[in-house]
Amino acid sequence: MTPESLPILDALMIEVTIDLFAGYGVEVHYLGCGASDPPEDVTVAGVIDFFGDDFRGTLLVAATASFFARTSYLPPPTPHATVLDWAGELANQLLGRLKNRLYGRGITMEVSTPKSLSGAPLSTPKANSTRAYIFRDSEQQIWVRLDVLTSDGVDLAHPRSDGGEAVHEGDLVLF
């Protein structure tokens, strides 16, 4: 990846995370890049893999169980199974947003089905390719980790040559 692409990727990741939770009525603020492991009170995570010729890796979004329950729009009490399912779905939707943004910059990828996990403390292997982003809403932290390997020539600074763009979140196209 070109040197100027990394801050673009960071900016996209921050933008799509804030937008995702805004879509579920939760305002989150970016605090900065943090340590590679989440705080101890963060016990639930959704995980999803992505793979393509030039861009592959894993996205993880982690928060407290109460945060995930609050964003699910389902009436309480929220069973733990629902919290886990929703964490995976949010990872899927977060990656979907990133994927749709990257499409306009010439990156295409396939995605796995999401998984979820819970436990304390959450600990993940660290790598040079790890980017960790810390957010906070009015009550607690949300932790997003992107592990990404790219081809040397990946350049996110320019739009794709054919000008194509993905349909945006919330848009409806009727045929």
Binding site: Y73, L74, K99
Partner: protein, 158 residues
């Protein structure tokens, strides 16, 4: 109104969210957790019900008026009500949404069932493929309830 909408999504939470909106608007809801379950539910639709899986109305999501594929008490031979609309995710285990569309497109008995794709995917190539295969619409998650209902009312067949 007695239109039955089949919700196909591997996330139980998304299915519950959709059910809440659709039931509140008077639709009846069936669910499937992946493409294989969805095709099985569609295959069984339109046959006279055997009794156990008749839907009841006016109950909250997760209750008696949500018919989950594969869990009907009467077993595999149960019939399902005719499907008025399928709301279909793409990224699912076993059989994804595009593969479901391919199967429906190749099946003369079910190729006319309207399908609204609801997914995180927004790539034009995927949307064009879905349109080729007969889908009637494409919505990128998250859904807005009023928009979803407008689409459902427009696309669901009587």
């Amino acid at each position: 109104m007695s239109q039955h909408i089949l919700i196909v999504d591997d996330s139980a939470t998304v299915r519950a969210q959709l059910s809440t909106v659709l039931l509140g608007a008077g639709f009846l809801v069936m669910e499937a957790a992946d493409g294989v379950e969805a095709l099985e539910r569609i295959r069984r639709s339109g046959v006279s019900p055997g009794g156990d899986n008749v839907l009841r109305s006016g109950v909250s999501p997760g209750g008696d008026n949500v018919l989950r594929s594969g869990v009907s008490p009467g077993g595999d031979n149960d019939a399902s009500p005719p499907v008025s609309l399928v709301i279909l995710d793409v990224n699912m285990p076993r059989k994804n949404g595009i593969e479901v569309l391919e199967s429906l497109h190749a099946d003369p008995q079910n190729s006319s069932i309207p399908v609204l794709v609801l997914t995180t995917e927004g790539q034009p190539e995927w949307i064009a493929r879905a349109r080729e295969l007969g889908a009637k619409g494409w919505m990128v998650k998250p859904f807005r309830p009023e928009q979803l209902l407008a689409a459902a009312r427009k696309l669901a067949r009587p």
